[in-house]
């Protein structure tokens, strides 16, 4: 009986190690999220949209939510009224460094308008490339916002260095 039990313990132990995936040296993906929805359109629905989006990203990455004013100050975009979907990666590179210990892997700019059934996203995964995402004519359900968050995270991994 004792030998059988010992074998069972060994089997369970090996299964536990097999099922536990360990990546040596890995770290979390660091994503900055900035709400760039025009201030006049920021209502309760819009805030819920942003919260759901942030929650979706947070389930797969470490999120740093940065206020628009702070972002614009760092990115030197204070007086830039041009649509952010047209911005290039170097335009926002200055905002990537949070402090002397943290630089985010990806910057995600969000304009979420539930009433207009539209979302604009700009993902900046490195210092030279951007990814523009646009959803139109679709009610912003939780499932859709989660899909958008998953998509933003997918592109945020593009230049990830562990």
């Amino acid at each position: 009986v004792g030998t059988r039990m010992d074998r069972l313990y060994a089997l369970l132990l090996s299964l536990a190690f097999t099922c536990t995936i360990v990546h040596a040296g890995d770290r979390e993906l660091e994503v900055m999220i900035v709400d760039l929805t025009p201030s006049t359109l920021r209502d309760a629905d819009q805030k819920q949209c942003l919260a759901r989006f942030t929650h979706g990203v947070r389930s797969e990455a470490r999120v740093h939510s940065v206020r628009e004013a702070d972002f614009r100050k760092r990115a030197r975009k204070l007086d830039d009224a041009s649509p952010f979907l047209g911005w290039k990666a170097p335009d926002v590179e200055g905002a990537r460094i949070l402090d002397q210990h943290t630089a985010v892997d990806s910057i995600v700019l969000v304009d979420c308008r539930p009433r207009d059934k539209r979302v604009d996203l700009l993902v900046v995964p490195n210092d030279s490339a951007t990814v523009r995402m646009q959803l139109r004519e679709r009610a912003l359900t939780e499932a859709r916002i989660t899909t958008l968050a998953t998509s933003a995270v997918r592109y945020s991994w593009v230049s990830f260095v562990p």
Partner: protein
């Protein structure tokens, strides 16, 4: 036999083994729950009419690399598990229309004839080769994703990626992500 009796008669050791067993079982169950495996759908026996989806691949290079073909086959296989998949290549008029949508917005004011016949259309653009490595051409990855629904001459959803932000062809699980994307974002309200 005497040893076995001694083991089972020792309450402290028996309790220790039971606790160890419980802890190991808990670790195993938790770690398996956290793994990416998914259970088969419970209603596998129910026949459900799958929505129609057309998949169009646009390529910026003369031909697809083997790695790109493999990745696209995997994507098509996953999509075919959820949709009635139509892989009819784009006609010259459709290709011209779609090229006018990248980098967007779509230049044409109407869809080419027959484009929306299958109602939902997913377009994947394969980026140009990203140079060579050890004498072999390197894939530029998947750049743009466009999703058309109905007769609107503009995508309901689009991802336009600079070539430096393309998804690598070996991104996993690309097919599952695209399948979810079509199912949630393409669905009619």
């Amino acid at each position: 036999m005497g040893d076995q009796m001694e083991i089972s008669d020792n309450p402290s050791r028996g309790r220790h083994r039971r606790v160890s067993f419980a802890l190991l079982a808990a670790v195993w169950v938790l770690s398996c729950l956290c793994s990416p495996f998914q259970a088969a759908p419970a209603d596998a026996g129910v026949v459900v009419k799958r929505p129609a989806l057309r998949l169009i691949v646009l390529r910026d290079s003369a031909e697809l690399l083997a790695s790109e073909q493999r990745a696209l086959s995997q994507v098509a296989r996953v999509l075919a598990g959820r949709f009635t998949l139509d892989r009819t290549p784009a006609s010259p008029a459709e290709e011209s229309f779609l090229r006018g949508c990248t980098p967007g917005p779509c230049a044409a004011k109407a869809l080419p004839p027959g484009f929306g016949a299958s109602h939902t259309v997913l377009v994947l653009r394969v980026a140009p080769y990203a140079g060579e490595e050890k004498g072999k051409r390197r894939s530029g990855g998947f750049a743009d994703v466009l999703l058309f629904r109905g007769s609107a001459p503009a995508p309901v959803f689009q991802i336009l990626a600079d070539n430096g932000a393309s998804l690598p062809v070996q991104s996993d699980p690309l097919g599952v992500w695209l399948s979810d994307l079509v199912a949630t974002l393409g669905k009619e309200d």
